[in-house]
Every structure is written in C-alpha cells, then in structure tokens.
Amino acid sequence: MATFIEQVQEMGLKQATIAKADEVVERITAGMNINDIRAALRGDEPRRPNPRLRPHADGFWLHIRPSFYHTEVTHIYPTFRLGWLSTWLFVWETITGIFLMIFYTPSPVAAYQDIWNILGNVPLGQLMRNLHRFGAEVMVLVVALHMLRTFITGSYKKPRQFTWATGMILLVLTLMLSFSGYLLPWDQLGYWALTVFLSATEAHPGPEFIGRNVGLLLAGAPQVGAGGLLRWYLLHVLVMPLLLAIFFFVHYYKVVLHGHSLPPGREEIGEDTAKRVPKEERTYFIPDILTSELMWTALATLILVAVPLFGLYNAPLESHANPLVTPLHVVAPWYLAWSQGWLKLADKTFIAFVLIPGLLVAFTVMPYIEVGKSRRYIDRRLGLSVSMAFIVIMLISNWMGSPEYLVASSPDQEVFQEILPQEGHSVLKEVPYSELRPGVYLPGQALPDRYHLTHALHELEGAIFTHGCFMEGKGKPNPLHLPACRPVIQDDGSIKYRTYYTRDAMPNPEFQLIIRQFQANMMELIITAKVEDPNRPGEFLINSQTVGYRHQDSNYEED
C-alpha cells in the first residue's frame, strides 16, 4: 500500500487525510468505514458484502455477540432487557467501585474514617458511594427479576438447562458480591451483620474442627478484625468479581450457543427454533440491537444517577464498628432478610446447612427434573403458581426478618429504638438543631413553629401506642387513647399485658422527652420511661431512660 506521503502527492492533502481517517476507523471497528457507519445510523441497506458482519467475525468485542437476532426476541417482551441490564450493572459497579477504591484502605484503623473522608472531603464522593451502593442493590433485584422471567417464559427448559445452572451460580455470586461489600465501611451495621452471618459456622453439624476452621478462615481470627476486613475486602474487589466475570462468559456463551428462546407461543411444543431464523425475521445486531442496547444503557444510567442524587436513596453509615457493643437489632440487608426470618422460626443448623443449600441445589437441578415439554403458560399452571407462591413466601419471610416480627427485647427498649436508637435513623436526631430547645416534652405534644419536633413527638406517641396499654380504674387519664390492657398470667406467675398489637404491653406508661443543653453547641436528648406496677402501687415495672447527643452540625437531616 502507498505511504501517506505518496497519497498526499497523488490526491492532495485533504483527500489523503480523509482516506487515512477512513482507514483508521475501519481498523478500529474491524471492518466498517465512516460511510458504512453513517449508512448504518441512517438505517440504509448495507452494501455487499455486508460490512456490518465483519466486526462480529474479526473484532474482539463483538465476536461473542450474535450478528443477528430473531425479531421476536428484540422487543421488550420476552427479555425485558434484564440480562443486558445485569451485565451493565456489573460494569457500572466496577466503574464506581474503582472510584471508591482510590480513597479506601482495608484496615480497621482507617476504613471508617476513609468513608467519612469520601463523604466530606472527596468531590462527588458521596454521590459515588451512593451510586455504588444503590447499583449493588438494584443489581440484586435485576438479576432476581431476570431469573424470574427466564422461569416464566420457560427458557430454562431443554436445551438451556445448563444456562440456568450457570445462572444460579451468578445469582449466588451476585448476592455474595453485594454482601461482601457490606463490611467494608467498618461501621456497626456491616460489622454485626457479618458477625451474625459468620456465627452460622458455629452451628455446623459436622465435626467441630471444620466449623471452627471455616470460621477462622472467613473471619481471620476468632473475632472479625483486621484480618477479617482484609479478607472480605479481597473477596469483594477481587475474588467475587473475577468469579462472576468467568461465569458470566460461560453463561453468555451458552446463551449465544442456543440462541435466545422465542416467546413460548411462537413454536410448536417441544421444538426449539431459536437457531433457525428465517431471513425475513432477522434483526441485525448492527445497527438495531446495538442502538437499542445503548439506549437502554443510557436510560438505566440516568435512573441510577438520578435516584441517589435527588436523595431518594442514601447509603447508610452507622457509627464505628465496635466488637464490644452489640446493637439492639442486627438486621441483614433486605436481599438476605428472609434468612433472618427463617432463623426466628427454626433451628440455625437446619436453616443454614440443610434448607438454604438444599434450596440452591433444588433450583439448580430443577430444569433437569422438571422436563415438561411445553413452554406455554397454559400448560404450566402448576409451575407458575408454585413460583408465585414462592415469591409471596419470600416477601413474608423478609418481613419476618425485620425487627417488627417476634421482638425479643422489652417494650420500653422498643420504643426507645423507634425514636432514639443507638444506631441508624432516628426521627429525633433528624429534627433540625434549631428546633431542639431545652425543656421537658410529652408524647404527642404539638409545638407551634417546631414542625419536626412535633413530628418526632407524634412518632413517640405512635410507638407508645403499639407498646402500651390502658388500665381502667387506676385513676389515671388515657391521653394517648391506648388500647385496653388484657392481663395474661405467665407460667412463672408474673403478669404480662396484651393488646391487639403486642404480647408485652406497658400498662399506663409515662414517657417524657427531656432536652438539655450539654455543651454550647450540643444538646442532650433523654427519653424517660416509667411504668408503675398496677398491682403494687409505688413500685415500678419499668423505670428506664435512653440518652443521645445531638451536635449542631451533625446533619442527620441529610442522612
């Protein structure tokens, strides 16, 4: 070929430059020159031989993508773009994750302060952290929905059983990827969620040394510490993403190998025509699928950015991890809360080592056992009903995992927890500092011009309402209109009071909120609880208080 100089001599500088640019573009796209790209974008017919197939044949990025799809699978139904979205979320998490990595040190002496540094010192740091955490949760949701859709459209059936099986691995990896990041801020939330998670190793049914050593391996020491943090960091940034990438390619290779399954009604029962696409039903990857994927990516990204930016999602950050202080309620992230719900009902060993692994295996091998030929909805009423029932059970289990179900602590502590918990959101701490003025306040009290404090006192009233009850005839008024107490004698002879809402209600509880100036720019918030024993006047069933501090600048409003 002629050198650039020779071309300039031959065609003049302008023409030669254009020709050179064309050549460069063609090299980068592995086969399409500028005119081909413009034609594709305009929607023109390709020239012959079709240059739009060459990036698939010769290029790295597209060699794994099919050069055309069956037109039927390019609409929103049946894929809902969920598989593509899962892939994009993985990429998105990698991008935002690398940003966070730059400012993070996996050490107990630095990690927590690093997160605060990201929030208060790194430009766009808070946004990046929110994007990463929101993306992680959305990814779990999207992957689960993708799984649901492949189930509903019967796409797991022969010949795609193995695709489904690799999908199960991806599901577990996605959950572990999300969960392994939970510990990294080194706050009470992640620390105790992981500690509780690891305590499952103690319930191991086999020889004691197995559970002990697996526990040691995962925690780095008998208790999660510097070693544990480093291990979970490496799992999160290295092992899990690597495994996920590997199994993604296996998964996706199988998808391409078998072709996207057509909508169930499109084929004869028992037939799989995905690989035999008639000419007139082809939709080519370039340009149609490509533009459509880019559009969905752009739209998804817009939502992923807008939701956290406008405060609709905020990554939580509790106080510094403290092995000596167990928070009252240790809650798993929502995508694992169902397991916590189950643990309240049944034995730990059974749940952690029989039920959950059993379910995972059952799901994985399901396509090899459920061999009904038809993918049509009408023929799969039982299977579809079971899946819907399963979803409902999972949602209920998730609710059971929350502290609302089967609370273990005392009613006064529960009220404190709802208004002024040691960790997590507190309606009281979120009251702007200017509304916190020294004084004694009562539940449900309305304060002119102090909207947020009024709201907090209203919430306090609501919390007392669910955990308190009213005893007639004690000469006391019932200003909060509490439900009547129903005494129940316990096995040990003591009396508990029930209401419609709780089995352990406080009779005629007296709560107060006391606000005191503690330092020039800090208030002390005290909630006191007093419950007199209805049967022994002058003696208290409950006489407790909880204390919190609120600095003028703490900015809980933005949490």
Binding site: G120, P123, L127, L302, H320, N521, M522, H551
Partner: protein, 297 residues
C-alpha cells in the same frame, strides 16, 4: 431506530447534566459533611465522657460534681477539663506551665492515651492495655475541645487580684481571720481536689503526686529563706513553679511543677484562700511580710 438514538443521546446528556449539577452543589455539601463528621465524633465523645470520665472530672467537666456508680456524690479526683486555663489559647497557659511544646489537642489526646503515671488518671489506649481504641480517644478529645466555644469567647468575671503579701491578704476587705477550717477542708477535698495529689493531711503517706501537707505547718517556715509557712503555702498555691519542693511521693519533684498553675483564677475570693490555708496550717497564719513571686495573668 432514529428515535432510539435520540432517546439514548438525550438520556446520556441528561446524566452528564446531573453530574454537572452535583458538582455545582458539591463545595457546600462537602463543608456540611465535614462538619457532620466532627459533630458526630463529638457526640460519641460525649457518650464516652459521661460513661468513663465524669466520675473523676465531673458531669459538667468542671470537676465539681462527681457521682459514683450508685449515683451518690463523691469527691472529684480529676482536674477540671472545662477550663480556660487548659483549653484557651494555643498554647494554653496549662501548656506553658508544663513546658509542653505541642498543641492543646495533642496534650489532651496524649494524656488520655497514656494516662499519667503516678496519678489516678488511668491509661485509656487499647495499645497500652486500656479500654479505648484510637478513634474513641480522638472522639473524647474532640468532645473536651468542644468546650472551647463557650469558654474561650465569653468573658467571665475577672479573677481576683491577689495581693503579693500574706499581710495584705489577711487585711483584705470583708475577710475574717483566722479562716473556717471546716470550709477549708471542703475546698481541699472536693472543690479543688488537692486531696487527689496531696492526700489527706491527717494521714501521713496518703499523698500520691505532690508532697504530703500534714506537716507543712512545722516545716513550711524553713523551706525558702525569709518565708514563713503561710507565705510559702500562699505562693505554692498561686505560683507552683516559683519554688519546687524537694521530695514528691514518686521521687524528687521536677520542674515544671506537676501542680496546676491556675488556682489563682480558680479560687475566686480571699476568704476561700484563707479558709484553705487555715485548714492546712491551723489558726496561726504568721507571715514575715515577704513579697511572693507571682505574676498575674
């Protein structure tokens, strides 16, 4: 397809605009979060202080009202921390008296971290076997420093202008001499916690940090030439560094004095000084009339 390109391009541009919008509001937001970081550290520090330090340094940090675990009032054995002598100025007068070359923050952090050998101030750092991690010590330190705004800006009533001789002190307006030894004992035990360093004057060997003062009446007149016991005591309280005692319970007393130099401002009236002196020396407050080495700040 053209529609998709348009939607995709618009969505992309909107995302970029969102980032731009985020960048615009970033400076103010960063400031709020940096302040929130400090604010929350101070809150944690308050919790730690109330649970660990208030028994010795007082609930309000002024070493005036201390309670034991059962809620009964006890003598405060720690020094006041909510104290302009310690906190105000960089270096504060406390640091100058101690000849300490770093910042007030370092002084406080270091004291909490290591405790103070030979005193009742415990070691807190987990690295030295105490109960607190580094971040917790930082939190309490920030809490103590947070007394600065109310302490270092507002002007309290001016300290009493101490005369330079005991003769003038005893002749000050409205004082009765000799003083009230019972009230003096109260000041010695509780208000100024001289006990925590000098022990109980009625019990030899009870001192921990400074010399035992039970025999000061007998030996006080022969420590510095030309000083009677009362002159020496008066000077020791107002200006510990003027003459350093020879023997402390933990060995020779060194320079600078381990005794805080701010009693001149903490003791607010001449009667209290006389009561204190009466408690230590008895009714005989004889003076040679010598001028003590004391410069008012």
């Amino acid at each position: 397809m053209q529609v998709k390109i348009v939607i995709g391009t618009v969505a992309f541009m909107m995302t970029m605009m969102l980032f731009g919008y985020a960048a615009l509001r970033e400076p103010a937001r960063l400031e709020r979060f940096a302040a929130a970081d400090l604010g929350r550290n101070i809150e944690k520090g308050a919790e730690l202080y109330v649970n660990n330090c208030a028994t010795c340094h007082g609930a309000a940090g002024d070493a005036l009202d201390c309670f034991n675990a059962a809620g009964e009032p006890i003598a405060c054995i720690g020094l006041p921390l909510k104290d302009e002598y310690l906190l105000c100025g960089e270096p504060s007068n406390r640091l100058i008296d101690q000849d300490y070359k770093f910042t007030v923050r370092d002084y406080i952090y270091g004291t909490i971290y290591a405790g103070r050998i030979g005193t009742q101030m415990p070691t807190w750092s987990a690295e030295l076997g105490g109960p607190m991690e580094g971040y917790e010590i930082e939190n309490v330190t920030q809490f103590v420093l947070n007394w600065r705004p109310e302490l270092c800006t507002t002007e309290g009533p001016p300290p009493y202008e101490w005369p330079l001789t005991v003769t003038e002190l005893l002749a000050a307006e409205g004082v009765t001499t000799p003083g009230d030894a019972t009230r003096g004992a109260e000041l010695y035990d509780r208000t100024y916690a001289c006990t925590s360093c000098h022990g109980n004057p009625a019990q030899a060997g009870s001192a921990r940090v400074g010399p035992w003062l039970g025999d000061l009446a007998a030996r006080g007149g022969s420590i510095v030439d030309g000083y009677a016991a009362a002159d020496y005591l008066y000077e020791s309280v107002l200006a510990p560094n003027a003459h350093i005692a020879a023997e402390c319970p933990t060995g020779p007393c060194g320079m600078p004095s381990g005794m805080p130099g701010n009693f001149g401002t903490r003791i607010r009236d001449p009667q209290s000084m006389i009561d204190l002196m009466t408690f230590i020396l008895g009714n005989n407050l004889e003076t040679t009339g010598v001028e003590i080495e004391y410069t008012r700040r």
